[in-house]
């Protein structure tokens, strides 16, 4: 299972590991370029979940019977596996959630319990709604200040220098995307981390788009909290992670309550379970957690350095191919070197929806819309865009099909 595979040389063999990719769409091979929304699942993840249901399924942390014990061991092992994968110290720093959105809702509630009126939260203009709306609503309820690192149209990234001027003693947390799900840029987290920590603030990172694209080490990057979804990293839906530095997690109070997260309960008082379980109330997504662990094993077989360089080659091929057609606007950094796997663009005279419908005719699946980043769309002054996003199984021929489809759309709409 842990043999090294190579994403770049084994493109088509990688494809064979994903049963859905053999499906034909109206006679065309499926060209799946909507990996930013969700990735497809390899057989290893599907069979890990299937065999767990068939052989070891029971609730965790409850029964003193063989099945429950096996389930508990497997579920806890999945936490350890994730901890190891992102460079956390132990499973005490890994809370399983239902996805990035769930992670941010939980984190924002836990953190803002400790904030006072007038304290500041900084996010950016390019955040996915899930790293914006929870902070926005809590800021309004609690009289906190919410500030935004603006989009920089010159670079296609964020105005990083502005953060230096914005951040102050009032700033308690800076919550930023690692890879933008629209612009594809990679945030300079190391630098940001230093700046944030120099001001005694905390750094929370949205790794939804990066966790299956770039090597991540939370300690080396200096990240205090990290959120991501299993379904965007070849794992199942309703699985996700909130990483938090152990000293921070230890002092934070939970935001959600119920069974399993408690140590002792009387009618008037409760005490909390150990980390990370005090943040996992109720029956957790057990099988999804097992699937997430299997997804981590899958990613280990492809060193992320390889996936990153594979997707960069695909990116360069796509940017070249699309640009050569003319009348194409590409959003985000102009160099493929500065991007990770996400390519949003518009074709003059062709609305993204129409483009997506036409591509679908040829079996090419892309995303069209605002990508859950409406404030960024406003900054870009567009209602919507098309977005192609790549994965470990994306091949140059997939990009050729995309480019050919765009060319066809241009002739229909010219």
């Amino acid at each position: 299972m842990k043999t090294r595979a190579s994403a770049s040389s084994n493109g088509s063999r990688t494809r064979n590991l994903f049963p859905i990719l053999s499906r034909k769409m109206r006679g065309h091979p499926l060209v799946y370029l909507d990996n930013g929304a969700t990735t497809q699942k390899p057989s290893s993840v599907l069979s890990a979940m299937d065999s767990f249901y068939k052989k070891s399924y029971a609730n965790v942390h409850r029964g003193i019977h063989t099945l429950s014990e096996e389930a508990t061991v497997a579920y806890e092992h999945a936490h350890e596996n994730v901890a190891d994968f992102i460079g956390a110290s132990s499973l005490r720093e890994i809370v399983f959630t239902r996805g990035t959105t769930d992670s941010f809702n939980m984190l924002s509630r836990m953190l803002t319990q400790t904030f006072s009126r007038g304290d500041e939260i900084i996010v950016s203009q390019a955040e996915h709604h899930s790293n914006l709306v929870p902070w926005q609503q809590l800021a309004q309820q609690k009289g906190l200040k919410l500030s935004f690192i603006p989009y920089d149209s010159r670079t296609g990234e964020l105005h990083w220098e502005k953060l230096e001027k914005m951040i102050s003693k009032k700033t308690k947390v800076v919550s930023l995307t690692h890879v933008s799900n629209v612009l594809g840029f990679i945030s300079p987290l190391k630098k940001i981390s230093k700046l944030v920590h120099d001001h005694n603030a905390l750094l929370s990172v949205d790794a939804a788009q990066s966790v299956a694209r770039l090597p991540i080490n939370v300690k080396k990057m200096g990240v205090d909290f990290l959120s991501f979804s299993g379904h965007k990293m070849y794992g199942p839906t309703a699985s996700g992670v909130l990483y938090g530095r152990e000293d921070l997690f230890s002092s934070l109070e939970p935001a959600y309550y119920g069974g399993d997260m408690v140590r002792e309960v009387t009618l008037n008082k409760s005490t909390w379970n150990d980390l990370p379980w005090k943040f996992e109330p109720g029956t957790p997504p057990i099988v999804e957690g097992i699937g997430l662990g299997a997804a981590v094993d899958f990613l280990r077989a492809y060193p992320l350095e390889d996936i990153f360089s594979h997707e960069k080659k695909i990116m360069a091929h796509a940017m070249n191919g699309l640009s050569s057609l003319g009348n194409i606007t590409i959003y985000g950094p102009s160099s493929p070197e500065q991007r990770a796997g996400v390519l949003a663009f518009n074709v003059k005279h062709v609305h993204a929806h129409d483009l997506s419908s036409l591509l679908n005719e040829d079996g090419v699946a892309i995303r069209a819309g605002h990508h859950c980043a409406m404030p960024l769309m406003t900054a870009l002054n567009i209602p919507a865009s098309a977005r192609a996003s790549f994965a470990v199984y994306t091949e140059k021929s997939d990009i050729d099909a995309l480019v050919e489809g765009v060319r066809k759309a241009q002739t229909i709409f010219k």
């Binding site: 609305h351 129409d354 419908s357 036409l358 605002h370 209602p383």
Partner: protein, 146 residues
């Protein structure tokens, strides 16, 4: 039929037949008036497209003329253009009776669930405009259109 392999043949390339492209590139009744009986704007939350309709009603509550504006995909603009011709001379009751089938008949294609949302944006906007008109002209038919 197996649900997974059942590929219902929603219009694809056929969707972009000449008359849809024509209404997209040359939308009828496109523009904005300074004054009108009622105007209303709606947003398609899936894609962020927005359409705005203005209606001029006569004293009997019949649509005399219409303008629409906004941005959108070919399906939403063509639907709006076709619909703008369709509702001229119709009463609010007649407009309320229009359905998604009407819109697909006007377009001449059957759409999948996501594109249907684009197509329905115009009818939803017009119906809501009518509702607002009625609200401000209670008993509307006689006193409509001050």
């Amino acid at each position: 039929m197996n649900a997974v392999t059942d590929q219902r043949d929603f219009a694809g390339e056929g969707m972009y037949r000449e008359h849809i492209l024509d209404h997209y590139k040359h939308p009828r009744n496109f523009g904005e008036w300074k004054t009108c009986s009622v105007s209303h704007k709606e947003l398609n939350p899936v894609c962020g497209d927005q359409l705005s309709f203005q209606l001029n009603m006569d004293e009997k509550g019949v649509v005399k003329d219409v303008r629409f504006s906004g941005q959108g995909c070919a399906i939403s603009i063509a639907s709006a253009s076709l619909l703008s011709d369709e509702i001229k001379g119709k009463t609010i009751d007649q407009i309320n009776a229009l359905s998604r089938d009407t819109v697909q008949e006007l377009l001449g294609v059957t759409l999948g669930p996501s594109r249907l949302k684009c197509a329905m944006l115009s009818l939803d906007t017009v119906k809501n405009a009518c509702q607002i008109y009625q609200k401000y002209h209670a008993g509307g038919k006689k006193h409509g259109g001050h």
